[in-house]
Amino acid sequence: MRLKCPANFRIVRLPCTGKIDVIHILRAFEKGADGVYVVGCMEGDCHFKSGNFRARKRVEQAAKILDKIGVGGERVKMFNLSSGEGPLFAQYSIEMDKKIKELGPNPVKVALQAKKKAA
Amino acid sequence: MRSIRTLEELEASGELRTSSKLEKILKMGHLAVTSECGPPRGSDPKAVTEKAALIKDHVDAINTTDNQTAVTRMCSLAACIHVKQMGLEPVLQMVTRDRNRIALQSDLLGAASFNINTMLCLSGDHQSFGDCKQGQNVHDLDSMQLIQTVRRMRDEGKFLGGDDIKRPPKIFVGAAANPFADPFEIRVPRLAKKVACGAEFIQTQCIYNLDKFEEWMRRVRERGLHEKVFIMAGMTPMKSAGMAKYMKNRVPGMDVPDEVIKRIAGVPKEKQAQEGIDICVESIQRLKEVEGVSGFHIMAIEWEEKVPEIVERSGLYPRPKV
């Protein structure tokens, strides 16, 4: 299955999306990511029962914080798919790539780069 | 069936504790009638005196409410003074929400200095219902402890702190009871507690569910409480089916049976008020016969002009002269 998908993201593997925490998402932005998306199993299909529900809540919390500090909560999103759905994974990454490009770069990164240039 | 004593007989019996007109009428054996007068949200005394004038010949005493529903109003004590100055008998309502024990005792002395000699002890609605939701509440004492405080000041001539009072306040003390609030099993024990604290008369919550009230009275009699305290049944005429529904659904601790709502809703809008008055009169007539009911407290909220009609049609007029 050769699927076209953007090459500008890094995959961070987790045993379950339930392992993700708000701080992981924030750290990604602190380190310059323009967007973060979390891909979990279909709701109701979690091997650990509620991991993906927890992940969704944490993504929502992170979005709230990003909104309040002016980075933008739309830069983080939760998706659900089952393990066999390669094409859907590709579609989600295209969708996210498009959205982040519309939003432009992470303002924190922009500010840091500007500062570096000035120095 | 009621045995009535003359005032001379009563005075000779030595049973009078105060010069309260309500105490005299109740102890003489008459069915007493009280009503109430909500002070205004302003400083015009006419708002009190005009309401009082509407009902003065038809009631024995007039309650003045104390910032009812936690909405800031002219103080109850000032309103009582206006009523007293008209030559009428006020009942000072006092809630424990807004004043600590210093202020409560002080206001009692102030009231007694104007010969205001009847009062009702309440805890008061929570401030979240009123216009000062962000305010503190005090509740240094609760309503039962306020009853104890007044009785101690009157009977022992002592402040709560133990010091003697010069000219103790001679005040006839009442309390409220809600026969319909939950849990029902302790409604009578709770009345017993108020009596044990020293309550001498009771004004109940508005009664619409007569069967439940009569059941409560049966239990009251079972414990002999009706012989220790004068129970005045609370009556509020309904103005409309809308008001009946509001009372049923929105007012905590209010029991309005569906039949009552149906009956009012069953007549045309312009006749609903009259139907409400009729229900009130019929209720009084039925409850007059209940052993242990010593009178009626008619709370015609912003409808004081209807009190004379209710009193007259209920056979409670003319009022005894004392």
């Binding site: 602190e30 309040k68 | 024990r101 609760d142 402890q145 609030a181 849990p183 709770r190 905590p252």
Partner: protein, 222 residues
């Protein structure tokens, strides 16, 4: 334990914006358990504040540290060596911890990062409810183990008031009527007769009304 809730991040930003070097100081006790001011909350707040101020062109030094407790001398001593590296401390401890830290480091401004709410229990995951108002003279033995001071909106000592309806309080249909709970429990304990004992007028001098309080135990002093 002491229950606190996080302050809104906008409020914190306003309070700290003029300090260049900031230490966010968490506490490992109550505020960790109620998820308002432990190590995790310190990390998240630090990250958010760093990003915010970089974006605003107002980059700050924001460091993180979480102490075992902020209400004890010995743990607070742990930051003595570093405290001068900061223009202010943003403490996520309860009001006790914030004040004790302020007393100890007199010349460093202290900013609270949480609102201290009440003494409560972890009723269920993500929900904490009040149980005690620290009145200083416990009456639970007489009220079926349920406190009318902390759980009745009018702290009625001889309740319930007329606003008790179907087991709930008049101020909020979700709130249990404390006196309904007391009556239920007294009944279950076979002690409903105790209901009729009138609670005496309370001595509030052991409560807040009596002024700041102190417990002294000479037997454990060294």
């Amino acid at each position: 334990m002491i229950i606190a809730s996080k302050k809104p991040i906008e409020e914190i930003i306003q309070e700290v914006k003029d300090y260049k070097r900031l230490l966010i100081l968490g506490c490992n006790e109550c505020v960790t358990v109620c998820e308002a001011g432990g190590k995790k909350e310190v990390e998240v707040l630090a990250s958010a504040l760093r990003m915010h101020f970089i974006k605003e062109g107002n980059e700050k030094k924001i460091d993180e540290k979480t102490l075992e407790r902020q209400c004890d001398h010995e743990y607070l001593e742990e930051i003595r060596g570093i405290v001068d590296n900061y223009d202010a401390i943003l403490s996520l401890a309860c009001g006790v911890g914030v004040q004790f830290t302020a007393e100890k480091y007199h010349s460093t401004p202290l900013i609270p990062g949480v609102n201290t709410c009440f003494l409560g229990a972890n009723e269920q995951r993500g929900m904490w409810t009040e149980r005690c108002q620290a009145c200083g003279s416990c009456i639970l033995a007489r009220t079926g183990g349920i406190c009318p001071i902390s759980r009745c909106a009018k702290r009625v000592m001889n309740g319930p008031c007329g606003g008790s309806s179907k087991g709930k309080c008049e101020i909020n249909k979700e709130l249990d009527c404390a006196w309904q709970l007391i009556v239920d429990r007294l009944r279950d304990l076979g002690r409903l007769d105790d209901y009729e004992i009138v609670a005496p007028i309370k001595d509030w001098s052991t409560e807040r009304a009596g002024g700041p309080r102190k417990v002294v135990r000479e037997d454990v002093q060294v």
